[in-house]
């Protein structure tokens, strides 16, 4: 039994190390974003620069999400989806960060500047 618990601990450690490594790699590679890219069903529909504050209503496949850009961050203020995961995700600002609303097949992703090359 003791031996098994050791294996359990090793497994737990492995999970935590993987997560930690991934997080570290993610943090080291992160850069300030420049634009919020909105896509519905995998197709890009709009881009909003992060340095221009605004509030827009996004139309997903099954409802609406209110996207707010403020202080260089993007977040969803309101949505009529059932789970509100997009609202609870909060503010995003780093390149590669995303807000996802699965019920509406909607995604907001932060992309970098530099000629709008897709990261």
């Amino acid at each position: 039994m003791k031996k098994k618990l050791l294996w359990d601990a090793a497994l737990l450690l492995l999970c935590l190390c993987l997560a930690g490594g991934f997080l570290l790699w993610d943090a080291l590679g992160r850069a300030e974003g420049a634009v919020a890219v909105v896509s519905v069903d995998g197709v890009e529909v709009a881009r909003y620069p992060l340095d221009v504050p605004c509030e827009v209503v996004l139309h997903g496949t099954d409802g609406e999400n209110v996207l707010v850009i403020e202080d260089g961050c993007a977040f969803i203020r309101e949505a009529d989806c059932p789970d509100k995961v997009c609202v609870r995700t909060g503010k995003i600002r780093w390149e590669g960060e995303t807000i996802v609303c699965l019920p509406h097949r909607l995604m907001v992703r932060i992309a970098g500047g530099e000629g709008g090359v897709d990261g």
């Binding site: 098994k4 359990d8 497994l11 991934f22 609870r88 699965l102 995604m107």
Partner: protein, 166 residues
């Protein structure tokens, strides 16, 4: 309790009760507020681990499948069905493999199950949204899955040692 034979009827009743219990647990869980999107306790996994140890892979997979179908039908949507199905399938498969190695206690098996459940959901999310960007949630969900797995696994180990086999 003089009759200790594992008759088909007895087994069906047991699995039915387990399915119902898993369904109730996943319903109850929807009321527990969680700090981050996608982070869950995975209470229904308690039943999955228990049935896996007592009745084997196939029956555990069956109980999970029916639980996922019913809970999506009752409380969710088609999207949540694809989500939970992938999570549950991956989780059961990995837990069954780890159990077979006979190296891990229910605790370790449950940790792997929790982590894999979340991984499965991320994979479906990547496919549905046609992007790998959501994989950024992987570290958070790995940690939360592992922590939930420890809690559920400890509980499952306790139940497995206290509830007599019939």
């Amino acid at each position: 309790m003089t009759d200790k034979k594992r008759t088909p009827a007895r087994r069906a009743a047991f699995l039915g009760a387990m399915t119902a219990l898993a369904l109730i647990l996943s319903y109850v869980e929807s009321f527990v507020p969680m700090p981050l999107p996608g982070v869950k306790l995975g209470l229904a996994n308690l039943v999955a681990v228990f049935v896996l140890y007592r009745e084997g892979v196939l029956r555990a997979a069956g109980v999970s499948l029916i639980r996922v179908l019913l809970s999506s039908l009752l409380f969710g949507s088609t999207v949540s069905l694809a989500y939970s199905l992938a999570g549950a399938a991956l989780s059961i498969a990995v837990m069954a493999c780890l159990r077979r190695t006979d190296r891990f206690s229910p605790l370790g098996v449950s940790i792997a199950g929790g982590v894999m459940h979340n991984a499965g959901q991320i994979i479906v999310c990547c496919i549905l949204l046609d992007t790998a960007a959501v994989a950024a949630y992987l570290p958070i969900l790995t940690v939360s899955g592992a922590v939930a797995g420890v809690a559920i696994g400890a509980l499952a180990a306790l139940l497995l040692s206290r509830i007599p086999k019939k």
